[in-house]
């Protein structure tokens, strides 16, 4: 990974033992204060009123409903953004066309925009007074302050993740393999399934995990369009807020602990996939070295 490990015994900047251990110590100290202790405190607060209370607050009807709604939102958002991400990455890495750079910048907008603004954009358009919303209202369709609105803003907020993981990788891999397959007579679907997909598999899974984590945890955008109806339009992060503001701290942290566990699982999967990606890139370059030699 780092070049420091395979070079000679030459001393490099910061290799003096006292500098090295001072910097490592400082980093570990700051990380403990800023990240580790807060993480531990979530679970400590969740169990502050005992294990029985923890499970009983998780089994309340409102909590179960919030868990269900959150899973529904993720289950709808992830596949839609997966398809979009692959399409976009294919278009911008496999073809040249005017406006290609602009398209890639546009795709980044949801990352740069405040989630509250994102929620507002949808409320203005699809709310009862909006262009589309007033027409929908006449036809008795309610998107805002209901679960479809939550899904819509979550799609907005998470749409760049898959494409962002795929684009650098697909650019690096180039199109030679795929062009060869086409010349050999592969159909579009065969090409994608047999050539492209195996190459981008891990980056794709990585993108999906990031999309899922954000979809489950989104707060600002969702709180604008949800209407906060407890037991109806509360996702898990919104329930955390509602419980916290009702002075039910232990219940809020119990709900939060579920989200924290998902975050830890996300980090674990991410570390695993990074390791696989590193390995596949290394195998690839070894293969190239052999063929050129």
């Amino acid at each position: 990974m780092s070049s420091s490990k395979n070079t000679s015994s030459q001393l490099r900047v910061g290799d003096k033992p006292w500098v090295k251990w001072l910097l490592i110590g400082l980093t570990l100290f700051l990380t403990a204060i800023l990240l580790v202790v807060p993480l531990i405190s979530i679970f400590q607060q969740a169990f502050v009123e005992g294990i029985a209370h923890y499970f009983s607050s998780l089994l309340e009807a409102d909590t179960l409903h919030a868990i269900g709604l959150t899973l529904l939102v993720a289950a709808l958002t992830v596949p839609i953004n997966l398809v979009f991400g692959v399409m976009l990455a294919w278009a911008v890495t496999r073809f040249e066309f005017p406006g290609r750079k602009l398209l890639m910048t546009l795709m980044d907008i949801p990352f740069a925009v405040s989630p509250v603004v994102a929620g507002l954009l949808y409320l203005l358009l699809y709310g009862n007074n909006g262009w589309i919303g007033s027409w929908l209202y006449d036809h008795d369709i309610q998107l805002m302050f209901a679960w479809p609105g939550i899904v819509m803003v979550t799609i907005f907020v998470t749409c760049p993740f898959v494409a962002r993981e795929l684009i650098p990788l697909m650019q690096q891999q180039g199109r030679e393999d795929e062009e060869a397959a086409v010349i050999l007579g592969a159909s579009g679907w065969q090409l994608f399934r047999r050539v492209t997909l195996p190459n981008i598999k891990w980056a794709l899974i990585y993108g999906v995990i990031l999309t899922n984590a954000r979809a489950v945890g989104e707060f600002g955008a969702v709180s604008v369009v949800s209407g906060n109806i407890r037991g109806e339009t509360n996702t898990l992060p919104l329930l955390v807020q509602a419980q916290y503001e009702d002075y039910q701290a232990a219940a809020a942290f119990a709900s939060a602990s579920l989200l924290a566990m998902l975050a830890l699982l996300t980090l674990l999967l991410k570390a695993f996939i990074e390791w696989r990606l590193e390995r596949s890139i290394k195998l690839e370059s070894d293969k190239e070295k052999k063929t050129t030699a």
Binding site: T31, A112, S114, L124, K270
Partner: protein, 286 residues
């Protein structure tokens, strides 16, 4: 906002043999138009509808202007802190081997993986009067929760990974020759770092700080729990939009949102242009 610096566009031009241009480009354009451009057009229309005088009055309202100031200051302080902390983390992760390095590397992404509302209530609880940290800090007379410093803290927490992840790859690819030459000539660690390493790192460092700043400007979930949300003192601009919405004042909410949106779009384009120039230099193309 690329956090991955890749060797973009180094391939020669090809004749088009691959299928799927119209399908993939068509789907992408349709999706971006529906999901992104249409709602943004809606915001512009709403703001135009209200007339210039009213628009100006809303966005220069004293309480709103106070919120711009707090948000900008807090985001600036948070991203400067992350500049230092992120550089330190990246350095330690790339240069040293020690037990727990891989765990530390994974842990850096915690602020991205943890929902912001969870971060918000956790920080608020830790730093409030009865919390683990609040208790200690109170005894030496420092108050963080429910003051503007709480906003800085929440913004810093949620944007920790940006600088680390932009600096890390550059640090990994840094060639050791110049550095070793400097060391052999007897220069001190600090002067070699300042003259050789830092000039190679700073474009990535600046990108990371800018990304961290952009994210902090828009942060909402983590901030509102710890900020105390006192008018003129610790209200962030995103909260002003939210407050206007709760009063059903859609025009005011849109006007403030249009300012926030404009600021983030300008930042986004600036970062992209900056990165494109910096990548070109990195790969030795004109």
């Amino acid at each position: 906002m690329a956090t991955h610096l890749s060797a973009a566009d180094t391939r020669p031009r090809h004749k088009r043999v691959l299928p799927g241009l119209s399908l993939s480009l068509g789907t992408s354009l349709l999706f971006i138009s529906l999901i992104l451009l249409l709602p943004m057009a809606g915001l512009v229309m709403q703001s135009v509808d209200m007339g210039w005088d009213r628009y100006w009055q809303v966005i220069t309202d004293e309480r709103v202007v106070a919120s711009y100031k707090v948000t900008l200051w807090a985001a600036a302080l948070a991203s400067i802190f992350n500049g230092f902390f992120g550089l330190l983390l990246a350095w330690v992760l790339v240069r040293y081997d020690f037990p727990g390095r891989r765990i530390l590397d994974a842990l850096v992404d915690l602020p991205f993986a943890l929902p912001t509302a969870v971060a918000g209530i956790t920080l608020a609880t830790l730093y409030s009067q009865n919390g683990w940290y609040g208790d200690i800090l109170e005894s030496i007379g420092i108050k963080i929760a429910y003051t503007p410093w709480g906003i800085v803290l929440a913004m810093a927490f949620t944007s920790i990974p940006f600088v680390v992840r932009t600096v890390q790859p550059v640090l990994e690819e840094l060639s050791p020759e110049e550095e070793e030459a400097g060391m052999t000539l007897g220069a001190s660690d600090w002067s070699v770092f300042r003259r050789v390493i830092f000039p190679a790192l700073w474009p990535a460092l600046m990108t990371g700080i800018a990304l961290s700043f952009t994210r902090s400007l828009g942060e909402f979930g983590a901030v509102i729990f710890i900020a105390g949300n006192m008018p003129y003192v610790s209200e962030i601009t995103s909260l002003m939009i939210f407050v206007s919405l709760q009063e059903f004042d859609f025009p005011a909410a849109s006007a403030i949102a249009s300012v926030v949106l404009m600021a983030s779009l300008i930042l986004l384009f600036a970062i992209n242009v900056w990165q494109a120039r910096y990548l070109r230099r990195l790969h030795g193309r004109s």
